[in-house]
């Protein structure tokens, strides 16, 4: 975009500033607009699952404007703060939570090279920033000067931090399959028909995807893992004392995180912006052919990714209103006794699959024959390290990477 603006004669630095601001505002609108849409969707889905209708009056038969009405109501509410609360921390907590959720969108690609900042360590960055949301929660719980808020906050923090471990292990599997942590490259490698998605790469990755779903739902504190905001036990957990606009920031952060982990699942496992049928390639278009065609392809990719992420969010809503809530000890048991060992075993399995069957079960059908790993540089002596320059599947044994180059 900076190039586009410079074409208008703007100086370079101003173009960069405007481009950055546009990207930031776009992401902010995605989160806010998404939250608006998802709140309405949640109420409708909850209603239908519970065999009732949901909002039907505001804005026509389907209650389209219900979210807007909710927003206006929240804006008009009185801004309360408990008497013994630490003022600075109380006011700061929602913004810390929201910032963590927002910052993670910087590295998320929405289409090929439509990304706020293309980081080489994209996956790592997103998972790291997601883990920072817990600070907002802890601050909110502490600053509310209420025992129940503090307990809710501590439970939620313990849960989020515990589930980061299996989440990290689940996320490493697509990284291993792609050979890079760059989210754009991971999405690129899943181009083609839906069979090239990592979800269908091998059975281990398939299981890892479902473990990822479990850990992601636990990470964003959605039911059945939402005991931190359990209405029947803790009033509202850490955000009990928050009202009006401050509370809505927490909600935006929660829906933003839900969208983020769904979009991350889409990029890592479900092909990212590549649709199940490669329409653009079949039509002969690609990102390289002329401006308008490239924009159309990117738009298609954008629609694909947002569609998949939305499906993920709807899935989370579905299981929220279907499954009963877990107790804290059940949450911890699921994490430590089930998710982590299964993720570790599946990771080992995926690693062995990659080593022994790198081209898949049916060579030539699923994976391209030539696989050049990004970043396998040439050594100073000029000879290729590992198989960086070779075309063809990685040879399984005896010719491994470490054997071709001595450490000294």
């Amino acid at each position: 975009m900076a190039d586009f603006l410079i074409g208008f004669g703007l100086p370079g630095w101003l173009a960069w500033l405007i481009a950055a601001l546009v990207a930031a505002v776009l992401i902010l609108n995605i989160i806010a607009g998404g939250a608006l849409a998802f709140i309405w969707a949640e109420r409708k889905i909850a209603a239908r699952i519970q065999d009732r209708l949901g909002p039907t009056r505001t804005g026509g038969r389907f209650g389209w404007l219900q979210s807007l009405a909710d927003g206006i109501k929240l804006l008009a509410k009185e801004d309360l703060m408990p008497d013994g609360a630490d003022g600075l921390l109380f006011r700061l907590a929602p913004y810390v939570s929201f910032c963590a959720s927002f910052c993670a969108f910087i590295a998320l690609p929405f289409a090929f090279d439509v990304v706020g900042q293309r980081l080489n360590v994209g996956v790592f960055f997103v998972v790291a920033v997601l883990g920072l949301e817990v600070f907002g929660v802890i601050l909110a719980g502490y600053a509310s000067a209420s025992k129940w808020s503090l307990f809710g906050a501590m439970r939620e923090a313990a849960q989020v931090v515990s589930y980061e471990v299996p989440l990290g292990m689940c996320v490493v599997v697509p990284v291993m399959l792609a050979g890079t942590m760059d989210l754009v490259t991971i999405g690129e490698k899943q181009a083609g028909w839906f069979t090239s998605w990592y979800l269908f790469h091998d059975p281990f990755t398939f299981v890892i995807f479902w473990i990822y779903v479990t850990c992601a739902v636990a990470s964003v504190n959605r039911a059945p893992f939402d005991l931190a905001e359990a209405e029947s036990e803790l009033v509202a957990g850490f955000h009990t004392e928050y009202s009006g606009l401050r509370w809505s920031f927490f909600f935006m952060a929660e829906y933003g995180s839900m969208f983020l982990v769904s979009a991350l699942a889409a990029v890592l496992f479900l092909g990212g912006w590549n649709g199940p049928i490669p329409l653009a390639t079949l039509a002969g278009l690609s990102e390289g052919t002329g401006d308008s065609a490239a924009y159309f392809v990117r738009l298609l990719g954008l629609a694909n990714l947002i569609g998949k992420a939305t499906l993920g969010v709807l899935f989370m809503m579905w299981i929220r209103w279907t499954l009963p809530r877990l107790r804290i000890d059940q949450v911890m048991t699921t994490c430590l006794k089930y998710c982590t060992p299964i993720a570790a075993v599946m990771f080992a399995g995926a690693m062995l699959w990659q080593l022994l069957l790198p081209a898949g079960l049916f060579p030539g059908w699923r994976r391209p024959a030539g696989e050049i790993r990004e970043g396998w540089l040439e050594g100073p002596g000029g000879s290729a390290v590992g198989h960086g320059a070779s075309v063809g599947a990685v040879a399984p044994t005896g010719d491994g990477v470490l054997a071709t180059r001595s450490p000294r």
Binding site: M1, A2, D3, I6, P11, G12, W13, L14, A15, W16, L17, A19, A20, D86, L88, L89, L92, V115, G116, Q117, R118, L119, N120, V121, F124, F125, V127, A128, V129, G131, L132, V134, F135, I138, L139, Y142, K147, W148, L150, F151, M154, R155, A157, A158, V161, E164, T180, M181, L234, I328, E374, G375, W376, L377, P380, V385, L402, R405, P407, R408
Partner: protein, 278 residues
């Protein structure tokens, strides 16, 4: 992948600046040795420098705030912001993996642990423990002299004073990963006399075992213990005067602890997590 700075859309700006600045630097005209006479000429704003100054101000400011704050919870919050801004500085220096690592492990792990500890021990008397004025003077003198010493050392080497390079190919995390497995694939830094560099497999394994040992040790140290004599914290929670508490704790075999005190303790066990709703 245009080979620009790892700042995405900043490529064009930096290229433009490079065309003008590097020849001037080569000719010795840049940076100027005296203050520029024409105030802040915004002919070209180097966003890298602006962002660096922003993050550096945040880091240093919040670090000083940690020292200056009395409330331990606020100290923890300021430390979180300071280390988060330090991660931003790491990103700006091109060490993307280290920046992400700082965010995930330091801020997202170590500081969460610290904040948990603060929450567990932040009972009313201990939230703000003010040091005496003589301690403050001592700390001020020690801090000022140390800062003067460090700054003198920092400014003493001429080779470190020059401006940066500007445009460098975007870094990749693969050489770092390969180095940790024991294989060095990166080129030796330009001008470096180093030959025959080793991988880091042994330190990697040692640190893995070290972390395991620390995990077991810390879990053992902080375990919930079954006690016959009342703990000082239980007696405090039962709101007895502190002298009698100390006497009770030092004399083993004293009367049993208050039955409800166990629910009110907030340290060392997972009762804060589990027992809250009971």
């Amino acid at each position: 992948m245009t080979g620009g700075l790892a700042m995405g859309t900043f490529d064009v700006g930096s290229t433009m600046m490079l065309d003008t600045l590097l020849p001037m630097a080569a000719a010795g005209q840049w940076p100027p040795l005296a203050l520029p006479s024409g105030a802040f000429a915004l002919a070209a704003v180097n966003w890298h420098s602006v962002l660096f100054l922003l993050f550096a101000a945040l880091t240093c400011g919040f670090a000083v705030a940690v020292v200056a704050a009395d409330n331990v919870v606020r100290m923890a919050l300021y430390l979180v912001f300071s280390l988060g801004s330090a991660a931003g500085l790491f990103f700006l220096a091109g060490a993307e993996f280290i920046g992400a690592m700082q965010l995930m492990i330091y801020v997202g792990g170590t500081l969460v642990l610290l904040v948990f500890g603060v929450m567990l021990t932040a009972q009313a008397p201990f939230v703000s423990i003010k040091p005496s004025s003589s301690d403050r003077t001592l700390a001020a003198v020690a801090g000022a002299s140390l800062l003067a010493l460090l700054l003198t050392a920092v400014f003493s080497v001429d080779a470190w004073r020059g401006p940066g390079a500007g445009v460098v190919p975007a870094p990749s995390a693969t050489p770092l990963g390969m180095a940790l497995v024991g294989v060095r694939v990166d080129d030796a830094p330009a001008g470096s006399p180093v030959t025959g560099r080793s991988g880091y497999m042994l330190p990697f394994e040692i640190v893995s075992v070290h972390l395991l040992v620390v995990l077991v040790g810390a879990a053992y140290l902080a375990r919930a213990k079954r006690r016959k004599t009342p703990r000082a914290i239980d007696a405090v929670a039962s709101s007895e005067p502190l002298d009698r508490v100390a006497a009770q704790v030092r004399a083993p075999g004293s009367p049993s602890q208050a039955p409800g005190a166990a629910n009110r303790t907030a340290g060392g066990s997972s009762s804060a997590l589990v027992g809250g709703g009971r």
